[in-house]
Each structure stands twice: as structure tokens, then as C-alpha cells.
């Protein structure tokens, strides 16, 4: 019965994915994001209650949680009229991934038995939250590059588009990474400690996640500005995509 909450969540995300295309409907899009996110929150809470713990360790389950975290991060930074194009970059893939997760089966309580909920929240939850933050940072960096290109080319409509200033995009990208990296550090540390206890070695996903940590750590350390900073944020995000969509299947098998 609670699984029916998938539909209002999808409706909200789907409406936002289209409504952000126009300035006139962007307010309705923001409400779509808010209502969809509330419906998905209720859905995830119901799933956790039914499983009696952390049920999102399967590929599709973690994708479900990832989408929720991405939308939550977007709600923190981006739900303002000037960030309409960020919504247009974030919401269509979020809605698509939400459907993919559903088609693949959604959450599973199976893995819960092997690992404690505390470990799963710290490891899976924090790593996914960090990845969600990096996704949003990539969206901000993409918007920066697009806007910077238009300013460079002296596009006459640049003021009509009502975009956020370049400086704001650069600052928000860096702040999002600064918030996300400690979460990734905690999540990774929990995973490595667990590996040592189990006497296992790093798998490809863990190695790639460590590399991702290195890239974002370098961004915070060297504080690259302008296009260079935006390209680095996108480079880090490419690693997140591979980790999240390609290598995460079977991590808890």
C-alpha cells in the first residue's frame, strides 16, 4: 500500500523536470520538487519501518536513496528562481533514475541481516550523501561553464535569463564540496575499518571512491577558480557516475 507513494513522488519530480524549462512555470516546478520529495521521504520511511533497519543496500535501493539525497541537496541550495536552470539539469536525471530504481526492484531487506544498521547508515548513507552533494556541485559547475561561455560570447540575452552570478555559482560549488567531502571521509573510513575486521582487501568500487576523495580533496586544498575549478568538479563527478552506476552493483553481495 505504501509503495503507492512512488507515484506522487514521480509525479512531483516529473512535473518539475518539465516545468523548469520555462520561467513562468518554474515556481510550479519548485513545488513539484518539494511535494515529490515529501512523498519519497514518506516512502523511504515506510520502507525502513517495514524492514526494521536500513534496507537500501541493493543497487536499485541505494539508487532510490541516492535520488532522495540529490533532491534534498538541491532543495537546500537550488530551490530559488535564479537557479531554475540548475533544476533543469538536476530534476530530469533524478526523475529518470527514480524510475530506473523502481524498475530494478527498489529496496531490499536481504543485506540488512549481514550488517548492522548503524554501519550501513554511516557507510552507505554517508557515501551516498557525499555523492549526492558532488552531483549537485557538478550541476552548479555545469551551469557555471554554460553561463561563463555565454558571457564570454557576449550573448545579448544573458540578463534576460536571470541566472545566478558566476561568483555565486563558484562559491556554492566549493561550499557543496566542502560539506560533502567530510561525509565521504566518514563513510569511507567506516568501510575500510570493516574491511580490515573482515580481513578483506579493497575492491574496485572502494579504490575508485578513494580516488574520488582525492580529486575533491585536491579541489578544496588548491581552490582552483573559474573554468579550471568547474572542470575539476566535473572530473570528480565522472568518477562518481562510474562508482554509483557501474561499480556499485554487487558491492554487498
Amino acid at each position: 500500500m505504501v509503495e503507492a507513494l512512488f507515484w506522487p513522488a514521480l509525479l512531483g519530480y516529473g512535473e518539475a523536470a518539465f516545468a523548469y524549462a520555462s520561467v513562468r512555470t518554474s515556481r510550479a516546478a519548485t513545488w513539484g520538487v518539494r511535494l515529490g520529495w515529501l512523498a519519497q521521504t514518506a516512502l523511504l520511511a515506510a520502507q525502513a519501518a517495514r524492514a526494521g533497519g536500513f534496507p537500501w543496500t541493493s543497487w536499485s535501493g541505494s539508487l532510490d536513496l541516492f535520488v532522495w539525497l540529490v533532491v534534498a541537496a538541491y532543495l537546500v541550495w537550488g530551490c530559488r528562481p535564479r537557479f531554475r536552470l540548475l533544476g533543469l539539469a538536476v530534476m530530469p536525471p533524478a526523475a529518470a533514475l527514480f524510475v530506473v530504481a523502481r524498475l530494478d526492484g527498489g529496496f531490499s531487506a536481504a543485506a540488512h541481516a549481514r550488517y548492522s544498521s548503524v554501519f550501513l547508515v554511516v557507510h552507505v548513507g554517508f557515501v551516498l550523501a557525499a555523492f549526492a552533494g558532488f552531483t549537485l556541485a557538478a550541476g552548479l559547475a555545469s551551469l557555471y561553464l554554460w553561463e561563463e561561455g555565454r558571457l564570454k560570447r557576449r550573448a545579448p540575452d544573458i540578463l534576460r535569463l536571470r541566472l545566478p552570478p558566476l561568483a555565486a555559482l563558484e562559491r556554492l560549488t566549493r561550499q557543496t564540496i566542502a560539506v560533502s567531502l567530510p561525509l565521504l571521509t566518514l563513510g569511507l573510513a567506516a568501510g575500510i575499518v570493516r574491511l580490515r575486521e573482515d580481513g578483506l582487501s579493497l575492491d574496485a568500487l572502494e579504490a575508485l571512491t578513494l580516488a574520488t576523495w582525492g580529486v575533491y580533496g585536491a579541489i578544496l586544498l588548491t581552490r582552483p577558480s573559474g573554468r579550471r575549478g568547474a572542470y575539476l568538479a566535473l572530473g570528480g563527478f565522472a568518477l562518481v557516475v562510474v562508482a554509483r552506476l557501474v561499480l556499485s552493483a554487487g558491492h554487498f553481495a
Partner: protein, 399 residues
């Protein structure tokens, strides 16, 4: 019913030579309004208009003729009632301005209104006009884009840096146009750090105005390394700043505005990393685009004005029936109170309170539908005849 009249001249119908003859400062405009009667005088550089709560606009027209020193027949427009109200709403919304959506007019309407003590009709129409102006600015983007080259330059700089507070500006050239652009940046919080010019005397004069440092053209390269925005507007026949003069930008972007013809800044600067270069053609293209945007928003704004005009018309029409409704209610209340008084001491205090409450409710229920119907009739064309019918049926003519 009270009548609203308007007599005025504006940039649509009168050249500046005529407008300047009838232009008044706020105090003089208020004095003229008082002289005319229950009136408000709105006088700006683009218009002088007298709004009068009187069917006869003769005194207002005569007052304007006297100011102009000549008859304004054929030039001045004269509007009445709903048309006058719609005109005021459009003025307050910036839709009648030279640049659609300009924001200053709303403040001028407010000042003109607050400078006098108008009667109920003018009070209502001006309050609604101020609300229309605010609504149009809140619900459309008509006033958000710059409408001049210098304000576009400042808006573009803000698009790069966000808040311009503390951003350092180098002004190359000491002419009026450059100073105007620099003034626009300063009004957004930017600091005019240097003024560079061939003539050091002119540079000193402009630098003093902005609290900046005057430098020679030979010091440009050093100044360029420390600023965020460059405004170039000299009368030099060739390039003043070449790409080689611009130090490499590592962490801070550089926004360059070239409003000189021939251009002062080497176009090759645009290809340098972190540099954004806009010349006069680019800025004019941006302004043309934003004005086109304002015109598109003006269509939506006109819809809002039409909605408000309909509300005003309904309110004005309701004035026809308000006295009849008030008389009817007073008459009913008089009967109710009289009948209760006849009870004298035959009922207890508690029973009296109950009777008061019950009879009041009966009265309200009985009068609710006739009141609503009368207001509905007033919104159409039948308000006056319905009001007459009510007065006749209940014998209210003598009350």
C-alpha cells in the same frame, strides 16, 4: 455617483519645450491640486497630470493652460471615470513610461498622492494604482532588466561578480559617458579606485568626485593588475589598452567595458582567460534584448491592469447602491429595536439577550440576499434602478 476626471500632457503628445513649461516640483504640484479642488497633481519630467474628483474638468484644464501660457486644446488629453482610472493604473505600473517598466514613476505617484489630502474617490483610485504598480513589479519581470547602456554594463558586471560592494574599478577617460557608467557601478557598491586620463587635470577632477586616485595612461598596466572592472571611454583615435597590457588573471576575473568609439580596448582581450570584454555594440544589443523582454512582460502587466480596472469599475458601480443598502438596513434595525422596546420589563435580562440575538440573526438572514443582489446589479448597468426600487418598496425616500 462621484466622477473622476483627468487632464494632462505627457511625452506621448507634448514635446519637451511644452512639458518643461507645465512641469512642477512636488510642493508646487500640491498647491496647484489644492487650488483646483479635490485633486491630485502628478508632475514628472515626462508628464503633468491633474486628477480631479469632479465631472467638470474645466478648472483643471484652465490651470494647465495657465501654466503653459497658452491653450493646450488639441495637445492635452482629457479622460473620465474608468478611462482616467485605467490611465493612472498604467502610469503607476510604468506602462505609460518612455521605457516600459521604469521604477521611478511609482514613487512619484506615491509622493503626488501623499502631498495632498484627497477625498474618498481619489484616495481609493490612487491607493489602488499604487497596489497595481507593486503587483506588476512583483508578478512580472518588467522592471528587472537594465534599460540603458551604463546600467546594462553595471548589471553585466554584477552577473560576473554578484555583489559589487568592494569591487575595484579603473575608469579610463574623464568624459561624461565614462563617469556615468562609473557612477552606475558606484551606485551598486563598487569602488572607483583609479581614473586614468591623458590630461591629468581632467583625471584629477573626476577622481575627486569618486574619491579615486588619478593616474596617467602610462600607469595603466599597474592599475589593471589590481582592479576587477575597467570602464574605457576616451576620445583617443586608437587602442589605449592592448591584450599585452592585461596581466594574467589567476583567481579574479576582469570585466572590461569599452564604450568608446573608436574602441579603446583591444578586442583580443576577450580571448584572454578570465577576461570578459563588452564594447558599445555588445551593450546596445543587451539593452535591445532586455527592452524586448520588458515589452513581452508589458503584455502580462496590461492583463493585470485590466483585472484591477474591472475591480475599480465594480467598486465604483457599488457606490450607486451603497446608500440604498445602508437606508434599508437602518430601517430594518429601527423596526427591530422598536419592537424589542415594546416588551419593556415583561422579559428577564437573559430572555432579552436571547431575543436580541435571535432578531438580529433573522434580520441579517433576511437582508443578506437583497444586499448581494443589489451589489450584483450595481456591477451591471441596473444598479441605480434597483436602488430606486428598494427605496420605493420600503418607503425609504422620506428617511
Amino acid at each position: 455617483m462621484s466622477s473622476l476626471s483627468l487632464v494632462g500632457v505627457s511625452h506621448h503628445v507634448a514635446p519637451v519645450e511644452l512639458r518643461e513649461r507645465v512641469a512642477l516640483d512636488l510642493d508646487a504640484a500640491a498647491a496647484l491640486a489644492r487650488e483646483v479642488g479635490d485633486a491630485v497633481c502628478l508632475s514628472t519630467c515626462n508628464r503633468t497630470e491633474l486628477y480631479v474628483a469632479d465631472e467638470d474638468d474645466g478648472r483643471a484644464a484652465a490651470a494647465l493652460n495657465r501654466l503653459a501660457g497658452d491653450s493646450l486644446d488639441g495637445v492635452a488629453y482629457r479622460l473620465h471615470d474608468d478611462a482616467a482610472a485605467v490611465h493612472l493604473f498604467r502610469v503607476a505600473a510604468g506602462l505609460d513610461s518612455l521605457v516600459p517598466g521604469e521604477a521611478e514613476i511609482l514613487g512619484q505617484v506615491r509622493e503626488a498622492f501623499e502631498a495632498v489630502e484627497p477625498g474618498p474617490l481619489l484616495d481609493r483610485v490612487f491607493r489602488q494604482a499604487l497596489a497595481v504598480g507593486k503587483r506588476v513589479r512583483a508578478e512580472t519581470a518588467i522592471g528587472e532588466s537594465p534599460a540603458s547602456v551604463s546600467s546594462a554594463a553595471a548589471a553585466l558586471a554584477a552577473q560576473v561578480f554578484g555583489d559589487l560592494t568592494g569591487r575595484r574599478v579603473l575608469l579610463v577617460g574623464a568624459g561624461r559617458i565614462g563617469a556615468l557608467a562609473a557612477g552606475n557601478l558606484a551606485s551598486r557598491g563598487a569602488e572607483i579606485a583609479f581614473v586614468a586620463n591623458r590630461s591629468s587635470q581632467a583625471a584629477q577632477r573626476v577622481a575627486q568626485r569618486f574619491g579615486a586616485t588619478a593616474v596617467g595612461l602610462d600607469e595603466l598596466e599597474t592599475a589593471l593588475g589590481t582592479v576587477d572592472v575597467v570602464v574605457a571611454a576616451t576620445g583617443a583615435p586608437g587602442t589605449v589598452v592592448t591584450a599585452a597590457d592585461v596581466p594574467e588573471r589567476r583567481r579574479r576575473p576582469l570585466f572590461l567595458i569599452d564604450i568608446a568609439v573608436p574602441r579603446d580596448l583591444d578586442p583580443a582581450i576577450a580571448s584572454l582567460g578570465g577576461c570578459f570584454l563588452y564594447d558599445i555594440d555588445d551593450l546596445e544589443a543587451v539593452v535591445a534584448e532586455t527592452i524586448a523582454g520588458r515589452r513581452a512582460e508589458a503584455v502580462r502587466a496590461e492583463q493585470l491592469v485590466a483585472e484591477e480596472a474591472e475591480r475599480f469599475r465594480t467598486w465604483r458601480a457599488s457606490l450607486d447602491v451603497v446608500p440604498a443598502i445602508a437606508s434599508l438596513r437602518a430601517y430594518a434595525e429601527q423596526i427591530r429595536a422598536g419592537e424589542l422596546a415594546k416588551l419593556g420589563g415583561r422579559v428577564s435580562e437573559r430572555e432579552r439577550r436571547t431575543l436580541e440575538s435571535v432578531t438580529q440573526q433573522i434580520l441579517n438572514k433576511l437582508l443578506h440576499v437583497p444586499t448581494v443582489r443589489l451589489k450584483e446589479a450595481a456591477a451591471g448597468a441596473d444598479g441605480a434602478s434597483y436602488a430606486d426600487a428598494v427605496r420605493h418598496l420600503f418607503g425609504l425616500e422620506d428617511s
